[in-house]
Symmetry: C2
């Protein structure tokens, strides 16, 4: 997707160790217009799958998940990393390592908002090793809901996350694929 690729070319920073800094339009400052465009594009790619809910992980997934859900006309649920007092005692709970925080994080969803009848589209900002998305998939499975697709803005295909997720047998779409970040470069896949 050219708009996103162009933005990464212009403002993305390769910080080494596979870390792509996109803080000026996705991860700290957010460009709402760009989020609308990427949300509409993801919604188009999964339009025929009968999605009833979009699931993401706080924090950076919220913006693109919200605009995708808006375009699909469904609610979005964000898995929480800390438990607010409004959350019931008994929740679906998984853990995943956080690349940008350097520790494992919990991901929790209240059973109030994931049901066996739900058809879930997972949306996140990045697909890297696939471990965060795998934890979201396990939350969907815990709830007995049906996973129907996975959509991300930026895939770092050199980190192999897609392999981890392919066994699920659902479509996995990324709007931009980065094939190589060695030697300070940002190389897009053909």
């Amino acid at each position: 997707m050219e708009a996103l690729k162009e933005r990464i070319r212009r403002e993305g920073r390769n910080l080494g160790d596979g870390i792509l800094k996109v803080d000026s339009f996705i991860n700290h400052q957010v460009d709402p217009q760009l989020m609308m465009v990427v949300g509409q594009e993801l919604a188009k790619q999964f339009a025929s799958l009968g999605v009833t809910k979009v699931l993401t992980a706080e924090i950076s997934g919220i913006a693109p998940a919200l605009t995708t859900a808006l375009a699909l006309g469904v609610p979005v649920v964000y898995a929480r990393k800390t438990k607010p007092i409004t959350m019931p005692e008994c929740v679906y709970r998984q853990t995943a390592p956080s690349h940008t925080k350097g520790r494992r994080v919990e991901l929790m969803v209240s059973p109030e908002f994931l049901h066996p009848s739900d058809r879930i589209l997972i949306v996140d900002d990045f697909l890297a090793t696939g471990q965060t998305i795998s934890a979201l998939v396990k939350l969907v499975e815990e709830a007995g809901a049906k996973l129907v697709g996975i959509g991300v803005l930026i895939e770092k295909s050199f980190e192999g996350g897609r392999k981890r997720l392919e066994r699920l047998g659902v479509p996995i779409k990324s709007l931009v694929d980065i094939a190589d970040m060695s030697d300070g470069r940002i190389v897009f896949a053909e």
Copy 2:
């Protein structure tokens, strides 16, 4: 604002101690259509102030801040509570107590995204005691930017936050005002 008030009437839960649970449409599951409507309404109320950026706090502020910023045609910045490795060493930093987490949280913004030339509209989901918003105001002041307004979805006026913020001399708008939550009730202000 009737749409939001109606939703609180239908799905809001008074958990005691002034805690209003709105997890089914704002704080865990989010209704994107409702967020668009509230964002457009907030944008309308601050349309004449030359806002250059919307500032909020992660996590629950992100959705309404994004839609408000979309309607205003400006970026949104969310203050971070934990520091990702993409953030520079030196950041603007304040702390605020979290009502729903039961501890103090840090709020950090990178100097990359708040500038002296910025005219900032702060948007958040709740105005309760005003302490989170006060911390955001201090971040704006640290950056030398100009605060031009404060907009929230739900004000709990019985917690007195507006008094704390009125000294700032900027317009403070809430879409719904809850005057009383004692004895399990949710009483809207006239």
